[in-house]
């Protein structure tokens, strides 16, 4: 990346962990338990993305009881509530203190490149050599903005979910939210509540109720084993790894946020945004089908929960089986909007995020720019990645998913270091 002449390597260490979020800190904990010498580089403060790259009202999609890290768990008075971003930052920072992780904050990795016997890590504060590297810099660094955005007329304000903080910065007028994942629905709901008319462009999505038969849906996903499903058991990993986040919101009243609620509150639903031509937005005529796919899939999820309750004779059998109304897509589909007519003044892109590997000078990216890896073991010796969606398990990108993945990969990493002459063990031998 850097065009400046390379400074000589000033320090060396067995393992560099890049990123001090839940994944990097979990890995640090396991490396520490194995007495593997390592350092954790953090470009900002601990839990940086949670601090600086999320919108104001965001709360975790998982309840507090589910917020666990290796040797650490939520111990507050509200196990069923959902952490605000400030609480997440406190939780992760508390973990860094608890584990005494060797975190160096304010260290930005500018380049990671292969050298004989390992990697060279160039930072804003000197260069390091490492025998192994763990990339824990997150899966949601950069907003994905679809190409159609290039054709949006200049008078329309465009905001990504990455830059969005609250609707207060919006001009008056209607807002088009593009994307129906957790992000899209939460932003649509909040913008609608601010008094701006919302249109929501809906592609494929994952619908589920917040609470089912007396329990948070995350409880059922955990109990039925869904969250622990292992990546090797899937033929079509690409598909499961690119599933949008489920339509959930963390609120005090554990409300269900779905497309029906948004329409009831006045939002207009359209199909996926497909194009812009002569100032006209073009929406897909597939809204009915994507809703039908999501409704059917939710039905299968609820069926599997009901079966689990029956099979296990669970106490929740006292709560009645419930099925939710199919998504109402309205009588007439909206296939286009003339941006010249003034109904839309702002477009919010809630069309997903991707990791930022602009600093990665190792040829491990596939043709779409994602890291080639097998359950986090990257296609380069001694390199690992953490925290990607469905990386090893369905829960991989969640807070509570860090533990099992980091444990697995730390084990792999330890074997790798032993085979390739671990500095620590050499010292012991002397």
């Amino acid at each position: 990346m850097s065009t400046q002449p390379r400074k000589s390597v000033t320090s060396s260490v067995d393992v560099v962990v890049i990123g001090a979020g839940q994944s990097g800190l979990a890995m640090s904990r396991f490396l520490g338990e194995r007495s593997i010498e390592h350092v954790v580089f953090e470009r900002g403060e601990v839990a940086n993305s949670w601090r600086t790259e999320r919108w104001d009202s965001l709360r975790l999609l998982t309840p507090n009881w589910q917020s666990t890290l290796p040797g650490y768990k939520y111990a507050g008075p509200e196990p069923d509530a959902y952490m605000s971003m400030a609480e997440v930052v406190d939780f992760i920072s508390g973990y860094a203190t608890f584990t005494r992780a060797p975190v160096r904050t304010g260290i930005e990795v500018q380049s990671l490149s292969p050298v004989d016997g390992g990697y060279r890590v160039d930072t804003n504060d000197g260069s390091w050599s490492a025998r192994a590297v763990v990339i824990a810099s997150g899966a949601f660094n950069v907003p994905i903005i679809p190409k159609v955005s290039a054709g949006i007329p200049a008078h329309i304000q465009q905001v990504s979910a990455h830059d969005y903080r609250s609707p207060n910065s919006f001009r008056p007028g209607g807002v088009l939210v593009v994307g129906a994942s957790a992000t899209g629905l939460q932003l649509a709901d909040e913008i609608q509540a601010s008094g701006r008319p919302v249109t929501l462009a809906v592609g494929e999505h994952v619908r589920m109720p917040r609470v089912y038969r007396g329990r948070d849906i995350q409880y059922w996903m955990h109990a039925t084993g869904l969250l622990d499903e292992y990546y090797k058991d899937f033929d079509d990993l690409n598909r499961v790894r690119s599933l949008p986040s489920p339509q959930l919101i963390g609120t005090a009243d554990r409300t269900t946020l779905d497309l029906n609620r948004l329409s009831r509150n006045g939002a207009r639903l359209t199909g996926r945004l497909m194009g812009v031509r002569d100032g006209n937005l073009q929406f897909s005529g597939s809204l009915r089908n994507v809703c039908s796919l999501a409704d059917l899939k939710m039905g299968r999820l609820l069926d599997s929960i009901d079966e689990w309750i029956d099979m296990n004779g669970a106490a929740e059998a006292r709560f009645p089986v419930e099925r939710f109304a199919p998504t109402d897509t309205g009588a007439a589909a909206c296939l286009g909007i003339d941006l010249g007519a003034g109904a839309i003044s702002t477009i919010v892109w809630a069309t997903g995020f991707r990791p930022d590997y602009s600093w990665l000078d190792v040829p491990v990216l596939d043709r779409k720019g994602y890291i080639r890896h097998d359950g986090g073991v990257v296609d380069a010796p001694g390199m690992y990645v953490l925290g990607l969606p469905f990386m090893r398990r369905r829960k991989s990108s969640f807070m509570h998913g860090a533990e099992d993945d980091a444990r697995d990969l730390s084990e792999h990493l330890a074997v790798y270091l032993d085979r390739h002459g671990r500095r620590g063990s050499l010292k012991l031998a002397i």
Binding site: E204, G271, R272, M274, G275, R277, Q282, S284, G285, S286, N289, V290, S292, L293, L296, K297, G299, R300, A333, R367
Partner: protein, 188 residues
């Protein structure tokens, strides 16, 4: 519990399709297909189209035979009615594509189909194509596809097959989403 293995056969070679999927994931260039048709105006509103060659897997292919389709307009349009209208051909294409998808998805999910019957209906206001009202579009107002399916599966599972078939259908995509159409003209 029966130990007899039930053989599901919808006439779809699912192993070949899954094999092709895997192969094309490895070699993305081979997945680039080009579909073609050529046509010649016959007379009046009648056009004869032929379909013969296509490109894919890195080379030219020919259908087992050349297929010929006549399109025309009915007598109420003061035409000869020597073929179905082009808009009906769109319905034929949609139904053909969804049908192929239903059989394939059902095979992949181990569901035996016994019968799949479809009717398609698409209202159109002629005020569009006749230029009577500029606010009326030329094409269909909507398309309604009704399936009657007899299969060894629950109603939910059958609905899921049809939904998945729409999700993976080329013609469903073509009719629901905009396509950049490039018409070039040469004087000969």
């Amino acid at each position: 519990m029966s130990t007899q293995e039930v053989v599901i056969d919808n006439g779809v070679n699912i192993e070949a399709i899954l094999g092709a999927r895997e192969a094309l994931t490895e070699t993305p260039a081979a997945a680039a297909f080009i579909w073609r048709a050529s046509s010649e105006w016959v007379s009046g509103t009648q056009t004869r189209s032929t379909v013969e060659k296509f490109f894919g897997l890195g080379e030219e292919h020919s259908h087992r035979q050349t297929f010929v389709y006549d399109t025309d307009h009915p007598e109420v349009f003061a035409s000869e009615d020597n073929g179905s209208t082009p808009v009906e051909m769109v319905l034929v294409g949609l139904s053909g594509c969804l049908g192929a998808g239903i059989a394939t998805v059902a095979q992949n999910r181990g569901i035996q189909l016994r019968s799949v019957k479809t009717t398609l209906e698409a209202p159109m206001d002629l005020a569009g194509i006749l230029g009577i009202d500029g606010d009326v579009r030329n094409g269909f107002e909507t398309i309604t596809v009704r399936y009657e399916i007899d299969a060894d599966a629950s109603e939910e599972d059958i609905k899921a097959i049809v939904a998945q078939s729409q999700k993976r259908s080329a013609v469903f995509d073509i009719v629901t989403n905009p396509t950049d159409v490039n018409v070039q003209v040469n004087k000969v």
